[in-house]
């Protein structure tokens, strides 16, 4: 999350918005953003409905056995089509901003052709 914040201007320069989604309440997300200095939107999916619709639910893995999201990244183009999916089987190992930027550059190169 910190890496994406550091390179946020590179995403914005490409016309790409970065959104973080978790099952935390928006108060918790606000606290997290304030303490870590994150400026991109952190969205609250308290009921885990969107998390479920993207197939990234990790049932009962949160505090008090709540359903939470497993780490995952999706790149969606302007037509609403998913262009890149990054799922991990190790919650320590998530996509780095450079992985996403490479996919974005590739996507835009293809679109420009």
């Amino acid at each position: 999350m910190r890496g994406f914040e550091r390179r946020l201007n590179e995403f914005h320069a490409r016309g790409v918005e970065v959104l973080a989604i978790s099952a935390d309440s928006n108060q918790e997300s606000r606290k997290l953003c304030a303490s870590r200095g994150y400026t991109y939107p952190f969205l609250s999916d308290v009921k885990a409905e969107v998390i479920r619709s993207y197939g990234v639910l990790h049932p009962r893995a949160g505090e008090d056995g709540r359903d939470i999201a497993r780490p995952a990244e999706f790149l969606i183009d302007a037509t609403g089509t998913i262009r890149w999916v990054n799922l991990t089987n190790d919650l320590r190992v998530r996509a780095r901003p450079e992985n996403a930027l490479r996919e974005i550059d590739w996507l835009m190169a293809v679109a420009a052709r």
Binding site: P41, V56, A69, I76
Partner: protein, 143 residues
């Protein structure tokens, strides 16, 4: 004769502690240490060497060095910490159900509207009208 303090044992224990508890703060600042926690491994190896030397002294020259009891305790504690660390990195962090129903590249992204930190609704469709793409990062919450 007063026996010497066996500093090797405590230094080894200190390194084992450092190896186990520095991992998260280390990879936040130095991302290269994240995927394979090699700094922790190096610290654990160094800890094992120091503890080994300390124990060798404590049991080999008990008339000169202390540490027969404290050395065994520190050694066991260090092993327990290293074990916990391995449990966390090798087992707990991979303890996820397989995600088989995630949409694939080429499929339509499920629509959604969710509140941001300030409680304002953010709609994917609206963002896609004004951006070339949107990157969604799902995370477990609070880290």
């Amino acid at each position: 004769m007063k026996r010497n303090w066996n500093a090797w044992l405590w230094a080894g224990f200190g390194l084992a502690l450092a190896g186990a508890f520095s991992y998260i703060s280390l990879f936040i600042w130095f991302p290269i240490t994240r995927d394979v926690p090699w700094v922790s491994y190096l610290l654990f190896i160094a800890a094992g060497c120091l503890l080994g030397i300390g124990l060798h002294r404590a049991f080999g020259q008990p008339e000169r060095y202390r540490g027969k009891v404290s050395g065994v305790i520190l050694g066991v504690l260090s092993l327990a910490m290293i074990g916990m660390f391995c449990y966390f990195t090798f087992i707990l962090s991979k303890d996820m159900p397989a995600s088989t129903d995630a949409p694939h590249a080429g499929q339509h992204a499920p629509r959604f509207t969710l509140p941001d930190g300030a409680g304002r609704p953010v709609a994917l469709d609206e963002l896609l009208k004004t951006h070339k793409a949107v990157l969604l990062i799902f995370y477990r919450g609070y880290w």
